[in-house]
Subunit: 247 residues, 2 copies
């Protein structure tokens, strides 16, 4: 038996999310189906760095699985890509130690969220950007980004539907945005993320950009663990799991 780590991308548009569910098209389901065929009917469980929701994309997701097949590492990529649907692609396959785990060994994740500022919808980007006609003040957004940086209890900035046990303290190493022509790109890098955390934080930053919430009010939310009506979860199609890092 050997353990393989794969780096993959997927377009989340036509998936009911990453995680396998009965009678739904999922990323995990598609990959496990291909592996089962390759292993002549034997079921192979895959493990990812974490789930992504329906409509959320992955530029760089990591999975691992164990296999008894005798295929050279360099041929695994071709074999998988030949059978996977065209909205999932494998970029890299490498052999890893038995201790490696796609989720538990990850030390850092990066997410990006893209906002298209436009009066008229862009038909070609409808599945890849959140579009809005709103206007945002850069200085206010910068201040809000800075408030989110660092180690905090992010209870107020995760979905109440979260199933995570244990504490909700996470560290964000970087929270930035870049304005490029008619687009805003948000980048969040941290040691872990709660359910809906990126889509909520970016939404709060956008609310700050519209002067609906101040940096002081955001700081208070960390303590009260309640963000009220601020930061409605943004739609999934603007969100990309951008990178996962291991030691």
């Amino acid at each position: 038996m050997e353990k393989l780590k794969c780096t993959i991308s997927y377009d989340g548009t036509l998936f009911s999310g990453y995680q396998i569910q009965p009678n739904k098209r999922t990323v995990q389901g598609e990959i496990e189906a291909v592996l089962q065929t390759m292993h002549k009917g034997k079921f192979i469980r895959i493990h990812s760095s974490g789930r992504t929701d329906a409509g959320v994309h992955a530029r760089h997701q990591v999975i691992h699985f164990e296999t008894g097949l005798h295929i050279r590492t360099e041929n695994w990529q071709k074999a998988l890509n030949a059978q996977l649907p065209d909205d999932i692609v494998v970029h890299d396959v490498e052999r890893v130690d038995a201790q490696f785990h796609a989720r538990f060994s990850a030390i850092e994740k990066e997410y990006r969220y893209f906002v298209l500022l436009t009066d008229t919808r862009d038909v070609f980007l409808r599945n890849y950007r959140y579009m809005t006609t709103d206007e945002f003040d850069d200085a206010n957004m910068q201040e809000a980004c800075d408030v989110f940086k660092g180690t905090h209890d992010f209870t107020a900035f995760s979905s109440a539907r979260a199933t995570v046990k244990g504490d909700k303290v996470r560290t964000l190493y970087e929270v930035t945005f870049e304005r490029r022509a008619n687009e805003l790109m948000f980048m969040l890098r941290g040691n872990g993320f709660l359910y809906h955390m990126v889509r909520i934080i970016v939404s709060v930053i956008l609310d700050a950009g519209k002067s609906i919430v101040s940096p002081e009010e955001i700081k208070t939310m960390f303590i009260t663990k309640n963000r009220g009506n601020i930061g409605q979860t943004l739609p999934p199609q603007g969100l990309y799991l951008w990178d996962v890092k291991y030691n």
Copy 2:
């Protein structure tokens, strides 16, 4: 009654082409359905500058129709966009003379075809680019572009399934390509295009880039009206109707 000219975009991915067909999702069908609702059940025929095939995109397509509704021109765009599906959008609506016809008044059309040069498929561009691992020589492609420029009988470079009556002489004002990082962008501007003509011409130029066909051989094809096995029609997803011009 007034005649309205609309400039629209659509993402061709989920359409069985522009032209209405029974039990298929088409661009014309979607727009006519919205107009029928707006006209309280009265059927309104729309006319376009020309059809596009299944999977082909339009950055800038033009349609016209006649209406007896009393809606201010500036409100038409909003009314249509509010009801159209999110893969069609109206950019502009203007009132035109009774003589205007989206197809017959057009004096020039521009198409673009995008080729992504990549070893690994890009999941986010699968519906928007033709992807290939082939390599192409720029000087050879430039020579081939130059051969297509001008006034020719394009019989050899259109589909045998073409239903066009009359001659197949057309004038191409411009045939160019641009290499940008890992992408080739082809641009064809002319007074008219035959069925599959852009996808065939770009394919012949790519074949020239692979040294499968020479400029002299292409010139001969104009005369023999037969291109043999050269220039297999390229897939639709790389093609965009880019612009339509009127006097």
